[in-house]
Symmetry: C3
Subunit: 199 residues, 3 copies
């Protein structure tokens, strides 16, 4: 039985691995070998390459491209026109000078966006980095290194400017403790690392 | 009688509110409930969501997405791949942790681009801001707050670097007065605000 | 006899000047009057305007737009969503205030990317600049002036941060000489200009 996902008639879906309840919108292109979980939305004009992996409940806004080597975990939000990469020092593989580099796949640097994270509109994520759980990358940031869990990063290059709750709200720590003003979740800050306090 | 606008055969136009003389190009998608005025051009691969509003004589270059909450007034130029947003702290609405936030539309922060303004290529406009009449946002700027009328802003975050004429030319003020070297229009600068001097 | 290039069935190719061995992917649009050389790849959702020129062995990743006035030479790599421009101070040509400016083509500022160069993902290239042979523009950079050959530039605005080999590897100069750690090519640094030492 085929999984029950929706795709707009103008979308091209060549992957056999798309979860139930997922919706793929107009002019999007999902290649053979791409893996997409359940209950996701993939916006117009997206491109998902073979070897890219997307978890469950993920929202990918319009015009996003995911390459081989990119992993997106559950509940992640990827804003419009967010840009991923998978080659630290690209040259045209068609150039006779560098074609040897592209005979194997050793040139691929993997990238991972952990559960519940947000990557804001138009942000650029260099390859070989890990974006921690529930972090929030601001719109237009250029991420050049790992982002800690719950961190808010903005700018070029992206730097830590504060912390956010799993619901996205800013956290204000006092004596190493914070409570989210919206959803009331509690957190501890220890050696610049945030962790939730489970009741 | 239907309004006489043109759309490329590959474009998807689901809105009943597109003005006469407007042209919508290849692989663009205009959703139901989007409003587009007369004599506009909407480039290839654009996406106009229901609730977005576009005035008359507007040029929207390729790959631009306009969301619900975004208003573009008359005579505006939106460069290629300009990015708008409508949520200050987005999370995946499909995540069980935050889905409640998305049950109403209170999360939408509106954005307005006033008459005659220019938003340069690849600029990113955070939501909840107003871009003043005839301002010019430089290519690649990240706009995080309101932009005054006639201001030139560039950088990340975008800061005021000077002023421009309604024709786009740079203005050089001397003793609070400037005359455009191209179109001869005259301006007054008062408490950092520019206003035209009408003859 | 027609040149033997491939295009995806969903691509629109209106140019009669596309070289043999070139591949044009899904939802791309190549306009009449665009020139594309041999053995190139043009990714999904690209847009190549009439008057744009692309050499041989060029890799253009997804979502790139090339305008009239933009020239890309042989063996170049253009990353995903790289943005070119061709108007220094754009306004909507449909606005009655500025339409005269657009009656001729004097408003176009040409841009050239020289042989073997790389423009990283999401970089923005202002018009009227020349990107030198084998230079490497980092992801997310905003290029506002000419880039020297073999230079590595990053940031907003893009500044020279170092130098790279023709294969893309970083070069470390000592007493004005460097040898590439990967491909063993040799270079000379003289008055901040890099040139290859041919054996």
């Amino acid at each position: 039985m085929k999984p029950k996902f929706f795709h707009h008639p103008s979308a091209l879906v060549e992957s056999a691995s798309v979860g139930a309840g997922t919706r793929i919108w107009a002019f999007a292109h999902v290649l053979k070998g791409a893996h997409i979980g359940r209950n996701c939305t993939i916006g117009d004009h997206c491109f998902i390459e073979g070897g890219a992996r997307v978890g469950h409940n993920v929202t990918i806004k319009n015009g996003v491209m995911l390459w081989e080597g990119v992993t997106i975990r559950d509940n992640v939000f990827i804003g419009p026109h967010v840009i991923f990469t998978n080659d630290r020092a690209p040259r045209s593989p068609r150039s006779p000078l560098v074609s040897a580099k592209y005979h194997t796949k050793e040139w691929i640097s993997p990238t991972c966006v952990e559960t519940g994270a947000t990557v804001g509109a138009g942000a650029i994520v260099l390859c070989g980095v890990r974006l921690g759980r529930f972090c929030l990358v601001g719109a237009g940031a250029v991420v050049t290194k790992d982002v800690p869990a719950y961190a808010l990063v903005t700018g070029v290059p992206a730097l830590v400017r504060g912390h956010v709750c799993q619901c996205g709200e800013r956290l204000a720590f006092k004596a190493g403790r914070a409570r989210c003003p919206r959803c009331r979740a509690k957190y501890r800050l220890n050696s610049s690392l945030v962790s939730p306090i489970h009741r």
